[in-house]
């Protein structure tokens, strides 16, 4: 009986180190998009007229923006921040978000056969759109509804491997292109962009994407993140060794 209790205690130790709470799965949301999050932070700070903080937030994503959308957006935004021109900052950032949607959708098309990647990129495009959605909605609620539907259709067009072979769906690139065109044309129109050809897509972009993925999620190279797993494995090994010893 003693041994049983010991087992129990160890098991409990293992389990309690991973509590399952109702919000657990909201952690480490891989669908979040850095540029969109920065935009949301920035408009809040602009309203409070804290331009120093606006600048600090912008700088966290500036590199990414420069790389994919060229130097113009940063020039405009940083100047507006210096002049404490909130409206320009916000509208320029909105344009950046549109460009970001374009860039993500472009990459979905390039990685179309790679379900794993394309799905993630589409989620990021949608996360970006969600930041813009309130503005579209206030101007034209129907259009907002339509765009959300288009994102849904785009997701369907990627196909799905199903579960144990059930629910399997083939991908459909034409359908995706159609949705992409609808979304981008509408956004271009709404946010008055002359051109959404971001044009900076090279192989290097995909490499960068892979590198960025590491940072966005749990960083495997960080030793600290391995501690929980190692701890669990060690306890399990300890239990097994203990049990075997006892038996002998």
């Amino acid at each position: 009986m003693k041994k049983c209790l010991f087992f129990c205690m160890l098991m409990i130790l293992v389990f309690t180190s991973a509590p399952i709470s109702s919000f657990a799965y909201s952690y480490g949301d891989p669908n979040e998009e850095a540029v969109a999050e920065a935009y949301k932070e920035m408009i809040a700070k602009v309203q409070e007229k804290k331009f120093d903080e606006v600048k600090a937030i912008y700088e966290t994503v500036q590199k990414e923006i420069d790389m994919h959308m060229g130097p113009e957006p940063s020039a405009i935004i940083l100047e507006a921040i210096d002049e404490k021109d909130g409206d320009t900052v916000v509208s320029a950032m909105q344009k950046v978000l549109v460009l970001n949607v374009a860039r993500r959708l472009e990459n979905v098309e390039k990685n179309f056969d790679n379900y794993d990647t394309s799905k993630r990129l589409l989620a990021k495009a949608f996360a970006t759109y969600k930041a813009l959605s309130p503005i579209v909605q206030q101007k034209d609620a129907e259009l907002d509804e339509k765009l959300k539907q288009q994102f849904d259709i785009a997701l369907q067009s990627l196909g799905n491997p199903g579960l144990f072979g059930v629910g399997k769906k083939e991908s459909n690139i034409d359908q995706f292109k159609e949705s992409k065109r609808t979304i981008l044309e509408a956004l271009q129109d709404q946010f008055e962009l002359e051109n959404i050809e971001t044009g900076h897509f090279t192989e290097e972009d995909l490499d960068r994407l892979a590198a960025a993925k590491k940072k966005e999620w749990t960083d495997l190279s960080d030793v600290k993140n391995w501690i929980p797993i190692i701890a669990i494995v060690m306890v399990i090994v300890a239990v097994v060794v203990y049990a075997v010893r006892k038996r002998k």
């Binding site: 657990a24 309130p134 503005i135």
Partner: protein, 466 residues
């Protein structure tokens, strides 16, 4: 008694089809319902770790039943009906054969169990497989046959593939191995087989999710660890109070009595009669103790459904003990309990399937409201998304984020639900000057203890400046 028991069982089985809940009224239920249309862990349909056997069964039923929530609830019902077999076989081990059907019917008619089985949640399926698993352990204790030894390992994999949080029941396998005093080589072999069985569902999920699964798993695990000792402690109850809630409120009052005074009295009477006679073999005591501690420390105490395994096993042995030596009086009490449970349980599932859940009421009511406005919620937002409402809504936990999100809607009215308000209060924000109650939505708090009652407030900031 046997005749009545079988009639009752058939009635319960019917109710699983007729009153399977058609509503996906909570965050988790929406996750599961959406998964039937598109299985996609990244989009949280369902959330990690994937619940593959539960969703798979739901998909099969979904080809006949159009409503995804209902399909899942019916799948739960089907598995629960199949669990009649192991319950009956186990009952036969502990009571005379003529009373085995009575025990089976009593366990199957536990009202709260019926209620949970009729919801599109993985608990119902997991509970059914738990019966199969426990029965296979009981057999494995007394047999050296390889297939008898392998069965619990396989069923354990099926169970975890439905609900990972039933993992503490793995202790049962260890107990069997320990009791049978296996040598090291055999232990190693069985352990490997057990792990291999688990990989069936893990690989199936991995196949649909690709390499992303491992990162999803890691961020999920890491999320737990960063949360442990952090935000969780804000509403952490004192330890003794937690135990009290778990035993009295969750297990006895909700789990066994389904919050009905009549059923509670029946159980008290039953307990009074059998008090001195209650026996439980050590395998079951071990299972209960392990799961109890797990529920105490690692499960959300706000949701009584998490302790269902304890309820069913304790009830089983309570019934078994009562029927071990029979008197006319005791049989009468059992019969009354059986009929009461069945009637109250059936009424419960009927109400659950026909009454609009509070989250649905909220969605439909706000659909009528004059725009522009935005509604801030906690988990209710997932249901609003599922119902495809046309107004803007968002989930918000921290006051900081609330202010930020609100900034995107400068001219809209702002509504918040009571969960948001309580969250802000816990963060030390004085919300009283800003909020004004608008309306309350109510459905059953037994069906949904967290979002069964929702109060909506309007949030006004101008008044402060005046």
């Amino acid at each position: 008694m046997r005749f009545v028991s079988i009639i009752v069982l058939v009635a319960i089985w019917m109710s699983y089809f007729v009153y399977a809940s058609p509503f996906a009224a909570t965050w988790d239920e929406v996750d599961f319902a959406l998964a039937l249309e598109r299985y996609d862990l990244l989009a949280m349909q369902p959330h990690f770790p994937g619940y593959p056997y539960f969703i798979f069964g739901g998909m099969l039923v979904h080809s006949f039943v159009d409503n995804p929530a209902k399909a899942l609830a019916i799948w739960n019902g089907l598995l629960m009906i199949s669990a009649t077999i192991p319950i009956y076989l186990l009952a036969k081990v502990f009571v005379e054969k003529k009373y085995a059907w009575a025990v089976t019917a009593l366990v199957q008619s536990l009202s709260y169990v019926m209620l949970i089985v009729s919801q599109p949640m993985s608990e119902g399926s997991a509970l059914a497989v738990l019966w199969w698993y426990v029965w296979s352990l009981q057999r494995a204790l007394h047999s050296d046959r390889v297939d008898v030894q392998l069965l619990p390992l396989w069923l354990f994999s099926v169970m975890l593939g439905i609900r990972l949080s039933y993992i503490p029941f793995g202790i049962g396998i260890l107990y069997v191995w320990w009791k049978r005093a296996y040598r090291f080589k055999k232990l190693l072999l069985y352990s490997l087989i057990a792990v291999a069985f688990q990989f069936i569902w893990i690989v199936a999920v991995a196949a649909t999710e690709g390499e992303g699964l491992w990162q999803l798993a890691l961020s999920f695990t890491a999320g737990h660890f960063t949360k442990w000792g952090g935000a969780i402690s804000t509403d952490e109850l004192p330890f003794w109070k937690r135990i009290r809630i778990l035993i009295f409120y969750n297990i006895i009052w909700t789990g066994m009595a389904k919050q009905s005074i009549w059923l509670f009295s029946c159980f008290v009477a039953l307990l009074a009669m059998t008090w001195k006679r209650i026996t439980m073999p050590s395998l079951y005591r071990l299972l209960l103790l392990t799961y109890f501690l797990w529920a105490l420390f690692a499960q959300n105490i706000e949701k009584p459904r998490h302790i269902l395994p304890i309820v069913v096993i304790v009830s089983f042995f309570l019934f078994v003990s009562a029927l071990q030596s029979s008197s006319r009086f005791r049989l009468t009490v059992m019969l009354i309990l059986l009929l009461s449970q069945t009637i109250i349980g059936t009424q419960g599932v009927k109400q659950q399937a026909t009454q609009l859940p509070a989250t649905y009421q909220l969605a439909y009511d706000f659909e009528q409201k004059e725009k522009p406005f935005i509604l801030f919620t906690w988990e209710e937002t997932r249901v609003l998304e599922y119902l495809r409402v046309s107004f803007p809504h968002a989930r918000v936990f921290s006051f900081h984020v609330f202010q930020r999100e609100k900034a995107a809607f400068p001219h809209a009215k702002v509504y918040v639900t009571d969960h948001v308000v309580k969250g802000f209060q816990a963060q030390g924000v004085d919300v009283r000057p800003y909020i004004r109650p608008v309306r309350m939505y109510e459905s059953s708090l037994v069906s949904d203890p967290v979002y069964g009652r929702i109060t909506v407030y309007e949030w006004r900031e101008e008044e402060k400046r005046e």
